[in-house]
Subunit: 147 residues, 2 copies
DNA sequence: TCAACATTGACAGCATACTGACTATCTGTA
DNA sequence: TACAGATAGTCAGTATGCTGTCAATGTTGA
């Protein structure tokens, strides 16, 4: 009999839901969602990318990203600026307010990680991270046809 | 600087997305989504639960579950029957077709797991499972007030 | 140069996930 | 019995994530 409850997929979904709920709780006062936080975090690292570039580096679906940016723009944390050499594209820039949040939000994320991984040792967390990267990965195997 | 890309939460979300995509691919011919598959899998184990009971054992939000059942009912895989002693409640039962799918869909799930964990050894998969259960868990710690 | 093709971002449509509010019903207690 | 509070399920609203389609714009090759 198939054991859903202990299947990796099911456990990933529940783990993800818990991670989401904890982070949501920590950043609630900023009226942000976890994906919005993640997008800001990518922008703290590199500002001014186009939506397509952001979609690739952040591994966020192109159309999902559009909506995320809409909402962050409405909250005044990012802005779309016309691309200087490509009239189809926008460059996404943090506003001053969006940059300011790096400190406080990073602390929220640190607290979230601590709560999430409460039952694991540091070594286990590293192991988990390593395995999740492998799980997601395999791009080198599947993305390119043998050539 | 906060490193989103290697944060457990971000990796969980991407791992989950990959698990979803792979399973989606395997069960595509049955026109089911991964959550619909999971719900069926819980019903293969125990049939006739109410929505609230299913919501608890399956750890699926009450309102989300309602929609899932709507769609599975429309597909002819489950049916709502009035509860014999509680006029507010339904008992959710598999149809013959819903029961028939246990074999083929379990095989799809097995193939998905194999593809998903391609880069990990069996020992690592067990470790991962154990850690994900801990991640999600902690019910004994948080859910009950000290009493 | 111009036509074929590719790319950028928007939009509609669907499923999941959650919140909060609501109706119908049940339960426990005075 | 009657009423207060709890519970079952629905609905509206919002955000994410994905597919498919489209218009506008870029790019490339004959």
């Amino acid at each position: 009999m198939y054991d859903v409850e202990n299947s990796i997929g099911f456990l990933l979904s529940k783990g993800y839901q818990r991670a989401w709920a904890l982070l949501r709780e920590e950043i609630e006062q900023y009226e942000l969602t976890p994906p919005q936080f993640a997008l800001l975090a990518f922008l703290w690292r590199e500002d001014g990318l186009t939506q397509t570039e952001l979609s690739e580096t952040g591994q966020i679906d192109r159309t999902t990203l559009g909506g995320l940016i809409d909402r962050l723009e409405k909250s005044g944390l990012v802005e779309r600026r016309p691309h200087p050499r490509d009239r189809r594209a926008y460059q996404i820039h943090l506003t001053a307010r969006g940059r300011e949040l790096e400190g406080p939000l990073s602390e929220c994320a640190t607290r979230t990680l601590a709560r999430l991984t409460n039952g694991l040792t540091e070594t286990e967390v590293s192991e988990l991270r390593r395995m999740l990267i492998i799980l997601r990965g395999e791009r080198t195997v599947y993305d390119f046809p043998a050539c």
